[in-house]
Symmetry: C2
Subunit: 313 residues, 2 copies
């Protein structure tokens, strides 16, 4: 096995194989790579980390593709973290998408990593954020995290980015409504996809009136949340989106919001990591089975059993 | 304020107002009602708890409506817990749905409760399971939990039911693919909606071949997972679904799987509750801000900060 310093230097040099291997280890057995991940974290913080969320069918992967190509045209390298079971990267999507993406797969300036839903394993948010750190430390200029816009963990993950894009598609079973709760509010930039379609005007108008009503959870310190019309097919709006992303990053620095945002992201991350550690400890010992038995027997409520369990740790 | 015994007896008697009030308290400030929820839990365990999951647009709420009417036709009472931002019950859906549901809203044998995504509050799974307990103790014969089939918490919630239905719709952006990861595997019964449409045959065939390949995570102890064709519009397959639900319940009891399932559900619930308790404790004291500061200063990695935090509890 390679030594700590060797792995770190290969990560910092952006070696593809070392990056992929550390990602697998950090995802599967984070305890084994805690030291190296601490060093990786120290070397992260330079990339522009962008979260993109939208319901299935809103056209996330098509937009990711168009954005990645745009960043590459400026000579910037791109890391993509797909936390979406329907993503073409994670093996869930139809063949057409996969073929369309293949030109990115052969570009050395693009690194794509898929995280599947982890089910009982848990720790999706923790794993996603570790993966972002590795790409960031490895020198990628932009790191894009793509998640579905439903699911508490998924929204938390996208929300833990410097710049948060929320993607809405026109006519998608009332898409805006579908992701209303808690998702639209976290957007720094709204993107409406498929704007070659007629219904898109209503979607844009709905988003604008929502913003006008002031229903955003974030204090943006003077940033006006834009609503951008795109069509990845025709490349409509991709330049404008690129400008908005750059402007938002400048805004974060100049307004002082970047420090606030970094603190919030770290807080989310520490909470998610603590939960993850807790889950591992709980499922290791025999305290869990004792807790379940006493709840099954009716001696304790689930809450009392959970409290007991926390005491034994 | 009412006394403990009084509240409990009103819950057990199925008093609507007492039920709604306890739900709000359990959702918002669970610590305040821990004692009464322990008694509620002791009195739960009689209802048939059914989890229903499917991606947005698969027709969950239409199916819930048809199922509720079918249960009512047998004289059984129904509690519905909607954990889905796009549900017509949670205020997210289009007017048409809402109107269609209104005949249930006036039926005293039906109780509908919506839980919104809780964002930073967390504890969605814990809150959902407490809500199920209240409906169960209040004497509802069937309790239906509806969640979106994406999102780790959401899948966990639906999976923590005695009988798990997974709903797929034909032609929904390759719906089967979209929810593949971790969701299809938990189904006790597969339901394909919108079977008045031609594409439904392919969806049914895909599901059957998946089942034939043996890709289910659960050991069903002899239960053959059926794939049912429904059309809520024409009431196609609703009787068959009702039969399958009843048969599954009988199977659970006769095979001994019910005990195993109850143990799994309690385990999930205790883990989720412990995480919830942990999150509350973390965010209360000043340990959290200390942990964030040391991570911000670069003295500690997020994982080290999380470990420190757990030690202070």
């Amino acid at each position: 096995m390679d030594g700590h310093d060797d792995i770190l230097s290969r990560i910092l040099a952006g070696e593809t194989l070392a990056i992929a291997r550390l990602m697998s280890r950090a995802e599967g057995r984070p305890g084994d790579v805690a030291d190296i991940m601490a060093d990786v974290h120290k070397n992260a913080g330079r990339a522009h980390v962008i979260g993109l969320t939208g319901v299935p069918g809103s056209g996330k992967s098509t937009l990711v593709h168009a954005m990645a190509k745009r960043f590459r045209a400026d000579g910037r390298t791109v890391g993509i973290v797909a936390v979406d079971p329907s993503s073409p990267y994670s093996g869930g999507a139809i063949l057409g998408d996969r073929v369309r993406m293949s030109d990115l797969a052969t570009d050395e300036g693009v690194f794509i990593r898929s995280l599947a839903t982890r089910g009982a394993l848990g720790g999706l948010a923790r794993a996603a954020m570790d993966t972002v750190d590795i790409l960031d430390a490895a020198g990628f200029d932009v790191v894009l995290i793509e998640t579905v816009g439903v699911g508490q963990d998924e929204v938390d993950i996208a929300g833990a980015a410097e710049t948060v894009l929320v993607l809405s598609a026109p006519g998608l079973g009332d898409g805006i409504q579908a992701i209303k709760a808690g998702v639209l509010e976290i957007a720094d930039i709204h993107v409406v996809s498929k704007c070659d379609k007629d219904e898109s005007s209503r979607t844009v108008a709905d988003l604008k009136s929502m913003l006008h009503l002031g229903s955003t959870a974030r204090n943006h310190l003077g940033w006006e949340v834009p609503v951008l019309r795109t069509s990845a097919e025709t490349n409509l709006g991709i330049d404008e989106l690129n400008d908005a992303l750059n402007n938002h990053r400048i805004h974060l620095v100049e307004s002082g919001e970047r420090v606030i945002r970094r603190r919030q992201i770290l807080e989310t991350r520490i909470v998610k990591t603590a939960e993850d550690l807790l889950r591992q400890r709980i499922t290791q010992g025999d305290s869990m089975s004792k807790a379940v038995e006493s709840a099954l027997a009716g001696d304790k409520s689930p809450r009392q059993a959970a409290e007991e369990l926390l005491k034994t740790l």
